[in-house]
């Protein structure tokens, strides 16, 4: 499994280009999350792909060839922080509710909705942690689940910032474009 981060233009069709590229390279995407950045014209993607290092290199280099992709980087081998968010709706009656609350605490999750016959538990963390909670919740009866997919960030001083200034026509050459 390889993790890539990409900064892309925040406009229609870009997600399609990115996912279509992975399809063309015959690379299965495990999760793809996308959201705006502090700059509203730029969105950030975290792509988790079923491939090896070589496949990830191809995906990274091919992504960066797309005009709307500002930067793509395989960060799999770097020190990472990874987060996934899940909302899990579980069957809960008078009897097992306290037990569920207990489990929620152990996993540092939160109960965010209480209804007469169910609870919604919100949990964030690594995919493993969420899988672990899911495992213990299953016997109670999981009614519904939604997961956000992974977002990742490199730790500490290892910064991955989008190229910020839009180059003028005269500067375009240095950024990989030639002006006829």
């Amino acid at each position: 499994m390889q993790t890539l981060v990409a900064y892309v233009e925040n406009k229609p069709g870009v997600l399609n280009r990115v996912s279509s590229l992975a399809r063309r390279l015959n690379i299965n995407i495990d999760s793809l999350t996308v959201g705006p950045t502090e700059n509203e014209e730029i969105a950030r993607m975290t792509i988790v792909a079923h491939t090896d290092e070589r496949g990830a290199h191809r995906l990274e280099a091919s992504l960066e060839k797309l005009v709307d992709v500002l930067l793509a980087e395989n960060i799999s081998s770097r020190a990472l922080l990874e987060r996934d968010l899940a909302l899990i709706k579980v069957t809960a009656d008078q009897q097992n509710r306290p037990h569920l609350m207990e489990l929620t605490k152990v996993f540092r999750a939160r109960v965010v909705d209480v209804a007469p016959e169910s609870l919604i538990i919100e949990v964030s963390g690594t995919a493993d942690k969420i899988d672990g909670l899911l495992e213990v919740l299953r016997p109670f009866g999981v009614l519904e689940m939604a997961r956000s997919g992974r977002i990742s960030m490199t730790r500490g001083n290892d910064l991955l910032r989008p190229p910020s200034v839009s180059p003028q026509a005269s500067e375009m050459e240095s950024s990989g474009y030639t002006v006829p």
């Binding site: 590229l21 280099a61 091919s62 500002l70 930067l71 190229p163 026509a169 950024s175 030639t178």
Partner: protein, 570 residues
């Protein structure tokens, strides 16, 4: 200055230096055609939109500039798909402009509406829909920048009819390209570069694999200097032909599936491969597990995505071929490879004797003879545009190109029907050059309607049909690998000479070897287009041949008694 989107389009194209547009009108692009009529742009009416894209492609390849094709929405746009993919696979800078239904009805399955940007996403370098007149100029300028920059490729701009009709302010300076900022990557680190230099200076049996990238980079002189400094033998890819003179003793010829035997053997024996602007296509490498086992590899390539894609390399120098070679050449100290060059010469062995050109005249007409004669008669100076199949390989083997951009052929996609329209584009790019189409009887029938375009435009193109009554290359595979079961390859064709006459073009039919040279001479003397139908040996094959998936040194060679059947009437 306030103009309509259509007028802005024509004005922008004119200012970008465009003179010709290859296209076909229709409802959703009509406003543009109306504006075209008032502009100085010359529109070439094609007979099928696929032809328009091939013409723009041929124009781009012959000139080194950008070719422009135009079509209406729906079927006009979808007919372009094959031509766009052809340009994509061969990194050819083509800008396709399509009309689109009005933005108000987009997505409603309106008449002749098709999602052409969706369809062409994987086969364009970039594509975009324009729905506002004020975006037309900037988008077109961006399309030209994208098509030309880095590794070139096709760009499609889909303009809605209302954007063509609406008015907007037009001012050249305020519509400069504004592309998303890109991370500027460091091409390669010093260590990688030093490793390449060390490999160059320690190799005993180095060999260059020269590709299309040298031509795209315009690095022919730099490349030649590099080759001479290190006295490196050069093997060419199909699209690399012309980047280094064929007459040069260091030029070994074409490599790969139908490459010369000594070239493929030299690759297998080399201890260093220097790949320049080529991408280790499967038609070039054969079985990757046995490919150049003895060789370390340096890959000079502008596209990072090509590095280690098919062949794992020891040093990857990412960048423009000319720029990288310029830095490398002064660092070459090992310059003598005479022993290795002598050895390669020995590898040629009896190839010259086995060559069909050296066999006694049996009275049979072989395609290789026709092409060899064409090469001699044109002094190797014509622009030759080939289609796909046996004749394409024979051309690559027997027409010896000394100049870049003189062989135009569909390599990566292998598009039959490419030659005739691409030659029309090439002729517009180089009106003073002699342009020959070398095409099979199969491929010619795919796009022969463009003969009418030739007549309407009154241009001078010579067409040599290598007519063997078969889809020859497929037949050859059936002969070798399917026990001669010729399923769907025997091909009935019209009388091509009579067909040419019907279009208003002089047509000739040649069946004997003696007629070849006089007919070529007469055709060259004519100031008008001439079509020559060469009825050649029906069951001849292209040799050598590396069967698909076999090792590069595992070649099928020409048998000693190759004469099988005579050309007959279909």
């Amino acid at each position: 200055m306030k103009l309509t989107g259509a007028e802005i389009l024509c004005e922008t194209l004119t200012q970008l230096g465009v003179r010709e547009i290859f296209g076909y009108p229709g409802g959703a692009i009509l406003p543009v055609y109306d504006a075209l009529g008032k502009s100085k742009l010359h529109h070439i009416l094609v007979r099928h939109e696929q032809g328009a894209t091939h013409m723009a492609d041929g124009y781009a390849r012959a000139s080194g500039g950008v070719g422009v094709a135009m079509a209406t929405s729906g079927p006009g746009a979808t007919n372009m798909v094959t031509g766009i993919a052809t340009a994509m696979l061969d990194s050819s800078p083509v800008v396709c402009i399509t009309g689109q239904v009005s933005s108000k009805v987009l997505g409603s399955d309106a008449f002749q509406e098709v999602d052409i940007t969706g369809i062409t996403m994987p086969i364009t370098k970039h594509n975009v829909v324009v729905t506002k007149a004020e975006d037309v100029a900037r988008t077109i300028r961006e399309a030209f920048v994208i098509a030309k920059s880095g590794r070139p490729g096709p760009v499609l701009v889909d303009i809605t009819k209302d954007a063509q009709q609406a008015s907007a302010e037009f001012d050249w300076d305020s519509c400069a390209p504004k592309l998303p900022p890109k991370r500027v990557r460091k091409n390669h680190d010093q260590a990688e570069f030093d490793r390449a230099v060390e490999l160059l200076n320690t190799a005993k049996r180095p060999l260059i694999l020269a590709g299309h990238g040298i031509m795209v980079s315009g690095a022919m002189r730099t490349f030649e200097q590099f080759v001479r400094t290190g006295s490196y033998p050069v093997a060419m890819t199909l699209l690399g032909i012309g980047c280094f003179p064929a007459r040069d003793p260091l030029n070994l010829g074409m490599m790969g599936m139908h490459g010369e035997a000594w070239v493929n053997n030299a690759i297998q024996e080399a201890d260093l491969l220097i790949a320049v602007g080529m991408r280790f296509d499967d038609r070039v490498t054969g079985d990757l597990r046995t490919y150049a086992k003895n060789a370390r590899k340096i890959h000079i390539e502008i596209d990072r995505a090509e590095i280690n894609k098919n062949v794992k390399v020891d040093a990857a120098l990412i960048g423009d071929a000319g720029e990288v070679l310029e830095k490398l050449t002064p660092l070459i100290v090992t310059r003598d490879h005479s022993a290795w060059l002598r050895h390669i010469n020995e590898l040629k062995g009896d190839s010259a004797v086995r060559d069909i050109q050296s066999l006694p005249d049996s009275g049979h007409l072989y395609a290789a003879h026709v092409i060899n004669d064409l090469w001699k008669e044109t002094h190797g100076e014509a622009i030759v545009v080939t289609d796909v199949g046996q004749h394409q390989m024979w051309e690559a083997q027997y027409y010896h190109h000394n100049d870049p951009r003189t062989l135009i052929t569909s390599g990566g996609l292998g598009t039959m029907g490419f030659a005739l329209p691409a030659a029309i584009g090439a002729k517009f790019a180089k009106p003073e050059s002699e342009v020959w189409v070398v095409v099979g009887d199969g491929g010619f029938q795919m796009t022969m309607s463009e003969l009418a375009t030739i007549v309407q435009e009154k241009i001078n193109i010579k067409i040599a049909i290598i007519n063997n009554g078969y889809l020859g290359m497929v037949r050859q595979w059936q002969e070798f690998f399917y026990d001669k079961r010729y399923v769907a390859t025997p091909l009935v064709a019209p009388d091509f000479a009579a067909l040419a006459n019907a279009f208003g073009i002089r047509g000739e039919r040649i069946t004997t070897r003696g007629e070849v040279v006089p007919t070529i001479r007469a055709a060259r003397e004519s100031s008008e287009s001439v079509l020559i139908d060469f009825r050649v040996e029906q069951e001849d094959s292209v040799y050598p041949m590396v069967p698909a998936g076999a090792s590069l040194h595992d070649m099928i060679r020409r048998p000693n008694n190759p004469l099988v059947e005579t050309a007959t009437e279909p």
